[in-house]
Subunit: 376 residues, 2 copies
């Protein structure tokens, strides 16, 4: 269905009609100039993220439902990274004419799946036209008691540095998708060239056969057998609210915390800069999944570099007082890994290599306009 | 300066370094995963808007500072429309390579000018690349006491319908800008055709002369003498926080309220639908500026249609109990106009014409993808 058939208000109604508020803080959701929220004795956490087609996602391999899911999750992840609970989500989406109502339905299905997982209400937003491509902006609102909020600036000398889950998998997933995409376009180009040739030779039967071959390629459905984990980490990341709960249940309160969206190196530098400290990270302790390691090998890439700079893992990076060491040890099997420690600022941020214990400076790359797909 | 010279974090620092929080509710602004706000005994209002290049604005005639100002004002307007006070703003902006750091500086200058006017803190956001054009997403957070919040749904039969300021001016401003833009492109096309001809004839002196003529056109700087008000209403709208204050000082509490972004017709229908009522609006009472009327005449347009459907005036539309009639009368000179009254739902929304008192149904147009520039 064309979006203009429904009109703006019909569209908003269709997308939001089933959204029953689940949180007592949601007083008024969609349907007025503003959303009205109530946070009588807690602090309000707010985060916002923009996702642009061709920069943050590629609709060749992201479907709309996955995109909705990921858009929500990356914002929930920011609330968890402050040790808060996400409560409300506002969604703005700008679409060009090639998108249909069903695409928006799929997008909202993904959004709702992510929000339902963490009891978050979709309370408003904006839907508007775009001349080219798709632009998404999400704002997430959460809450926390003041004493529970964890900033980037709270790390202290001797604190342990921890990460959840494993790193580098989302980046390797992206490499796989990009490779298959380029194979797909090469095959398409070849068939198109053959069709042009057959056309110029007037070979109608061959043209028809080639067109059928081309149609078979139309759906980008490569076989990622054995690599499903990497693909899922890239296309359907999970915000680690479970880790926040686990730490709370074990009476561990991080001193500083961030989610890993730009890559471990970049986030370590943020925490150290804002906490006025340095760190030592043991290469051997960085958690890496077996599939990540094998695939990095295949691509002739250094797996540690992938884990340090890949980004988009949405795992949590946090620091804890050294006194929590035993409690943290007990959580190793639940995916909490101690990877290093915090030092005095003047000692800098350094990686201690696996083999000879040589130390390397940890450096981070920000984005440059029009850069690579793994940008935050 | 190229944006990549500064990098993402350098850029964020440059844009936010001077932002000292002005509101006690702003606990933590830019520089962590989330903004932290405190609203201990008030309700929180949240609104978000997306603005896309080529749909909501045209950089041929919007400069970046005006665009920043307008982007902020349209969001503040939504908070005022709930009878709240705006407090914090989050800004996300996606830019293609043609934008420089100085463009962002200009954009933020406009944002700050709007925010400073109403004591609003810029507390966060996102800056990222875009493959084509400029996309802006603003989230505004405000506060209100529960008893003060005015929804769209509170209008009652016999209530008076009021609007602030005057209507249709922003739309006529857009018509003027669009006309001058098309004249400008026609002139440019003519000169380019002459240059091609002179080139083909080898007349180098003429080519040089024509190129100089073309250069003079490069800056889109048409003369709008006498029409400045209309241009300013389009490019630099003001959120009517002053009207909110005025009503409060005069102990007038609207029963329903909205800001006029899509046009009076559309907003009247929203209020009537959500309040389950109808309305009668007197055409003769709709406030229209002299310049708006003259320019509508010039364009051979019906001025009432422009005022009813033009949009982007960002005036307030509200309803008040009939008992406030005398108090409202006294505010006529301060720009509050009574334009009609609320009826039973089954009587519909109708406009009573100036001449013979004939009644016409009020209808509204939502947006269609890729539609006209006046879309919200």
């Amino acid at each position: 269905m064309e979006i203009k058939e429904l009109g703006e208000f019909g569209l908003i109604h269709r997308l939001t009609k089933d959204a029953e508020p689940k949180n007592p803080s949601t007083l008024k959701g969609v349907g007025d100039d503003c959303t009205v929220l109530s946070y009588p004795d807690r602090k309000v956490l707010v985060t916002t993220d923009m996702l642009m087609e061709g920069v943050h996602f590629d609709l060749t391999y992201n479907n709309m439902a996955q995109l909705g899911y990921k858009s929500a999750m990356v914002n929930l992840s920011d609330i968890f990274a402050m040790n808060g609970q996400p409560r409300q989500l506002l969604v703005s989406i700008a679409l060009s004419k090639r998108f249909k109502v069903e695409d928006l339905d799929d997008f909202y299905r993904g959004l709702h799946a992510a929000c339902d997982k963490w009891g978050v209400d979709i309370v408003g937003g904006d839907t508007c036209p775009s001349l080219t491509g798709l632009a998404i902006s999400i704002t997430c609102i959460g809450e926390a008691e003041e004493k529970d909020i964890v900033y980037r600036s709270g790390a202290n000398e001797t604190d342990l540095v921890c990460v959840s889950g494993d790193l580098g998998a989302a980046y390797m997933g992206l490499q796989l998708l990009e490779r298959e995409k380029s194979v797909y376009y090469q095959q398409l180009d070849k068939i198109n060239a053959k069709i042009r040739k057959a056309n110029s030779e007037g070979n109608k039967a061959l043209v028809k056969h080639l067109q059928e071959e081309g149609m078979k390629l139309t759906d980008f459905q490569p076989d990622f057998a054995g690599k499903e984990y990497l693909i899922e980490r890239q296309l359907k990341p999970e915000a680690r609210g479970d880790i926040i709960q686990l730490l709370r249940e074990n009476n561990i309160r991080p001193t500083a915390m961030m989610d890993i969206s730009d890559g471990l190196s970049s986030e370590l530098i943020h925490i150290c800069k804002q906490s006025h400290c340095g760190c030592r990270i043991y290469e051997k302790n960085i958690p890496i999944d077996y599939q990540t390691a094998v695939t990095a090998e295949e691509f002739n890439m250094n797996v540690t570099t992938c884990a340090m700079n890949g980004g988009e893992d949405y795992e949590l990076l946090f620091t804890c007082p050294i006194g929590d060491h035993d409690k943290l040890d007990a959580l190793e099997s639940k995916g909490i890994h101690q990877i290093g420690y915090i030092t005095k600022e003047e000692l800098g941020c350094r990686l201690i290599s696996r083999g000879d214990g040589e130390e390397f400076d940890i450096t981070a790359q920000g984005w440059a306009l029009g850069g690579a797909g793994e940008e935050k």
